[in-house]
Each structure stands twice: as C-alpha cells, then as structure tokens.
C-alpha cells in the first residue's frame, strides 16, 4: 500500500523521468487507485512519453474497470487523449466489450464514431455483428459511414451485405453512397 501511494504521488512529480517510471510501475497494480491515477495522468500530463507509459500500463492491467474509466476519455477535448483511449479499448478487445456496446449507443455521435473505430480496429469476437447493428440502426451519417468502411474490411457474410444495402434506403448522402459501393466491392459484389 505504501508503495502504491508513493507511485501515485510520483505521478505528480515535476520530473518527467520520475513520472515516467511511476506510470510504468503502476501497471503492476490492479487497484482502483492505480487505475484512476493512470487515467488522470493520461488525461492531464503534458509529456507524450508519460502519456504513452500510462497507455501501456492501463493495457497491462487490462480489467473491465480500466475499460470503464478509459471510456470517459473519449469525451476529452484533446484529440491525442481521445485516440489514446481508443487504442486502450482496442487492445482490451472483448474485455471492454460491455463498455463498448454502451458507447455505441452514446448520445454523442463523435463518441459513437470513436466506438466504431474501437470495434473495427480492435480485437473483438463477432465484431461484424456490432458493426452491422450500427449500420442498420444509427441515425448519424458519419457514424454509419465509419461502420460501413470497417464492415467492408472485416465482414463479408450475406447479412453484412444486406445491411449495407439497407443504408441506401436510410440515407441519400453522396459520401455514404460511395462508402457503401466501396465496401460492397471489397466484399466481391
């Protein structure tokens, strides 16, 4: 416990190397305190090296609690932090599945777009089914366009193709039409 407190305190050190080593060592701890400190450091630290160490440690801890806390960073105003959070969720894969399913239903379309990327580039079993659900149900053209692109890359079943055809009935946007054509071509249609 003393060791954990010491590492958390060092995350606030003015010395970048001390913060880096603390971030690395906190990856050996699975407590809520360690996770919350790493997430806070990832969000606020001004050193990319320290932030990258936080990403690596959060992936190493790899629990559902990590997924829950990191998911909050998808709303950050800093694109680097948003992308780092997306990367952690991708690497957690099915361990973050429940959290990602909730994110895919988030009211904010920017968050849903990032969640689609997490599914498309992450290590999820049955990712196609998650993407199909977005393609068939999401009301936002950008979110659907992103899901269409990933479905074109990792899908290919008749259900996937049917879902892509459905997009044409729901939207009349030129980019989305192009994205559907491209995805179907990748599927050999």
């Amino acid at each position: 416990m003393e060791e954990l407190s010491r590492l958390i305190e060092l995350l606030n050190s003015e010395d970048e190397m001390e913060r880096l080593h603390a971030a690395e060592e906190l990856g050996d701890h699975t407590s809520s305190e360690a996770i919350l400190s790493l997430v806070s450091c990832l969000e606020k630290d001004e050193s990319r090296v320290v932030q990258e160490a936080c990403v690596a440690s959060l992936c190493r801890i790899g629990t559902e609690e990590v997924a829950e806390e990191v998911a909050k960073l998808l709303r950050s105003s800093d694109p680097y932090v948003r992308n780092a959070a997306s990367e952690v969720l991708q690497l957690l894969g099915d361990r973050a599945r429940h959290v990602v399913e909730l994110l895919l239903r988030d009211p904010d379309p920017d968050v849903r777009t990032l969640a689609v990327r997490v599914v498309g580039e992450g290590q999820f079993s049955n990712a196609s089914a998650l993407l199909r659900s977005v393609v068939l149900n999401d009301p936002d053209a950008n979110v659907v366009a992103s899901a269409v692109e990933y479905l074109g890359e990792i899908g290919g079943s008749s259900e996937d193709r049917d879902a892509l055809h459905e997009v044409r009935a729901r939207f009349s946007d030129p980019f989305l039409e192009y994205a559907v054509e491209t995805a179907l071509r990748k599927m050999g249609e």
């Binding site: 105003s77 694109p79 680097y80 948003r82 992308n83 997306s86 990367e87 379309p109 920017d110 777009t113 990032l114 990327r117 580039e121 053209a141 950008n142 366009a145 992103s146 269409v148 692109e149 074109g152 946007d173 030129p174 980019f175 989305l176 192009y178 994205a179 491209t182 995805a183």
Partner: protein
C-alpha cells in the same frame, strides 16, 4: 498541371472519395494515412493545400497542423480541417492549431470542390 492537394485521413474510403472528386476536376492528389506520414510528404513535396482529418490513430490532425505551422517552409500552405468533430471547442482547437477553415463531414462533392478552389486561389472567396 493542376493544384496539388495533400489529403491526410486514416479512412481509405474518405481518401479515395476526395481523390475521385478532385482528380475529376483537375487537381493532383496525394494521400497520407496519419499525421506523421502527412508531415513526411509535406516536407518531400510542395502542395497548394492540405485537407486534414482530426482523429487519426498515429498522430492527430492537430499534431500535423502544429508541425507545419512551426515550419517556415510550410507555414503559408493553406489547410482545411474536415472532421466529424462539430463542437465549438473542436473548431477553436483546429483554428488555433493553424487551420484556415474547419468543415464538418460528410461533405458534398460541390462543397469539397469549392473549399479547394477558394483555398488554392483558383477562385475568389466571393466568386
């Protein structure tokens, strides 16, 4: 030879969509899949315009803009952010990092062309 546009976006569909529209209208197009590749290409070759996405996995659009705006050889090249991020804070961040304009995806072909023609000086902003 048409004006040269560098498209920086991690979506291959977006890149090919812009390429198709722009090349059909006389522009020359090069692509980069993230900010780092974008910076490399911007240093290797002269462009008349950068079209930049924000959320990319290896280096964000903001990283790209800050880098080119700190380089005396690239600082004058106009840059348009075209992103799904639509909140005021996102627009402010783009403009403060050096973008000339911030547009929200998805863009209609005629809007994309208008942006490119105005920012490359092919037509006046009011023309």
């Amino acid at each position: 030879m048409g004006k040269k546009v560098l498209v920086i976006d991690d979506s291959s569909t977006v890149r090919s969509y812009y390429r198709k529209i722009l090349e059909a209208n006389g522009f020359a197009v090069a692509e980069a899949i993230n900010a780092y590749e974008g910076i490399e290409k911007a240093l290797e070759e002269e462009f008349d315009l950068y079209l930049v996405d924000i959320n990319m996995t290896k280096g964000t659009g903001i990283d790209f803009l800050r880098e080119v705006r700190s380089n005396p050889e690239l600082v004058a090249v106009p840059a348009a952010v075209i992103s799904t991020e639509s909140e005021e804070k996102d627009v402010e961040l783009s403009l403060s990092a050096g973008a000339n304009v911030h547009f929200i995806k998805p863009l209609k072909p005629e809007t994309l062309l208008e942006i490119c023609r105005i920012l490359t000086g092919e037509v006046a902003a009011d023309g």
